[in-house]
Symmetry: C2
Subunit: 332 residues, 2 copies
């Protein structure tokens, strides 16, 4: 049998209430009693049972992060940010995986089943109907990357990101800029559509005629390799590659292009997206569009807390937009 508050009370010759108050360092308890009780607690390795507490208080002091993939670099950086922010607080982080398509249901399970006080929804977009229901039930949910007007979320200004990238490449004297997109763009991820629209708008604004959209199946290294071969079909060939599909694909392209004797950036300039650790460690430094992912994680956590604690009635519909930034290295 585990040590409970009752046993501590018994051993210390006080009532359970007293122990409870001591644990929360109440002013109402005399120093002598406190010392006595704390000694017993120390000796018996007593730690309060969290379920009892949770059940009574009706809250878990936990934040859930739900995603339909296990781990990738974006998530790693994001979680890193969340953990930094969460550590000094009373909250803890719980990770839940949800198979693609079942995420909305998982959210309900977690929030209604009191498995967490708030949810950070990564990389998927629950139907608006769901979101409405959550709002009505006052269940805090923060959307990450893909956001919906009227619901809390953190996002990058992906439109601006593409403008930045195009402008930078033009300034570097490039004339034929191709954009690389992962197919997923067409599977309901509005933030990827936004990158495409930003690219098109930027070209139009600058009155450029050349445009080229290269689609790859996913944002893997292999898809990056494939870009090199896809390029051989194109005429005229682009002189710059804007890998809106992420740093990994850019790194993959670099490997294949350089292995085939291409000069980067002279023959072709290459820009990545994200500024993940990959962009920092490619042998030829990768110029990239940076998203402040850790900050986004911290902000998402803060937003969740604001919703939980209800301090700020605006929080539940606040969308925090982060600005991208070009990190210049050698590849462009």
């Amino acid at each position: 049998m585990a040590v409970t508050i009752k046993k501590i009370a018994e051993l210390a010759g006080v009532a359970p209430t007293t122990v409870s108050l001591v644990l929360r360092n109440s002013q109402k308890i005399s120093e002598a009693t406190k010392r006595q009780v704390l000694r017993i607690i120390e000796e018996t390795d007593y730690y309060p049972n969290q379920s009892g507490k949770t059940l009574k208080q009706g809250r878990t002091d936990a934040i859930a992060i739900i995603s339909s993939y296990f781990q990738n670099l974006f998530k790693m950086d994001f979680v890193n940010g969340v953990e930094q922010a969460i550590f000094p607080t009373k909250y803890e982080l719980r990770h839940y995986y949800a198979q693609s398509g079942t995420e909305g249901n998982r959210c309900k399970e977690i929030l209604f089943g009191k498995m967490a006080d708030a949810v950070l929804a990564m990389n998927f977009l629950p139907e608006t109907e769901y979101l409405e229901k959550m709002h009505k039930a006052r269940k805090p949910i923060v959307l990450v990357e893909d956001t919906v007007k009227g619901f809390a979320g953190v996002r990058l200004d992906n439109f601006a990101a593409s403008s930045l990238a195009v402008d930078y490449l033009l300034k570097r004297g490039r004339k034929r800029i191709a954009i690389i997109l992962a197919m997923k763009a067409y599977m309901g991820h509005s933030f990827l559509d936004e990158r495409l629209r930003g690219y098109i708008a930027a070209l139009r604004e600058r009155q450029l005629e050349y445009s080229e959209i290269i689609e790859i199946p996913d944002y893997s290294l292999e898809s990056g390799h494939a870009i090199y071969h896809r390029l051989q079909e194109k005429s005229p060939r682009p002189d710059a590659l804007y890998c809106a599909s992420g740093d990994i694909t850019a790194a993959g392209f670099l490997q294949e292009a350089i292995a085939h004797g291409m000069q980067v950036p002279d023959d072709i300039a290459v820009m990545g997206f994200d500024d993940s650790i990959i962009a920092q460690t490619t042998t030829l430094g990768l110029t990239t569009v940076r998203q402040p992912v850790q900050e986004m994680g911290r902000a998402a956590f803060q937003l969740a807390v604001d919703m939980i604690e209800g301090a700020d009635p605006q929080a539940s519909s606040r969308i925090i937009t982060f600005q991208p930034e070009i990190i210049v290295r050698q590849s462009a």
Copy 2:
């Protein structure tokens, strides 16, 4: 007020017990009643409160992962493995951060406070006294990377890893092999000591006279850059670098060395450690010593479950050792 099992019972015109049985799909309940109850559950968005369940059952069905850093690539891959293994089970994963030095206490808090049924202890080594106490209390704890005889853990055969690396480099005709180590090696991480001992033993066995230990403060990219400059002081210079400090430092060295016109691997061969995503994405492919980190994560989870469920009395002292493997790319 949230929907509870009582309310469902009331709406369905049955007793709470019945609802509980329906939820667990008991054979004892008639199909008609089941259907009726399930309809109500569906309609009301009822999900069982986990704290109630936990409190009653005395278990959380959660596994905790505790570490004294937020996220890095090893942890990312490891967690990935754990999540793959955990998903199809009833368990869930909770992440806890513990400030360096406070990890043991955090373990107690988590296990005695019923915050999780088992702990995966990453990257730190609780004192043996602590471990004994946990054993006595039958609290499952699995050590990751650094293990202690008599207590459950997963580890890499780091000694063999160094032998493999040295042998590979010798076979490639290298004569002067230096090992790179992060200072942390001397802060109580036996698995890093083991890499050093493996290196020394391998050199001795092959009767090589040259040996060189280069210490860097940490396993960051910048420390990798610094290696290049440290090399300038050495005479004779090594013709091979075994970065036991990890892929990131190897990638850093590659950047700096190539930027300064060195030829890799002709002037100097470079081997990384881990085979993280970094090793795959350096522009010049990084030859490296692979640890099967995801498998280690899966194994750690399984070991934890075996301990929780008590199916295998040996589990609580089982150490699972994984074998390293050389992944050949271009840098060595």
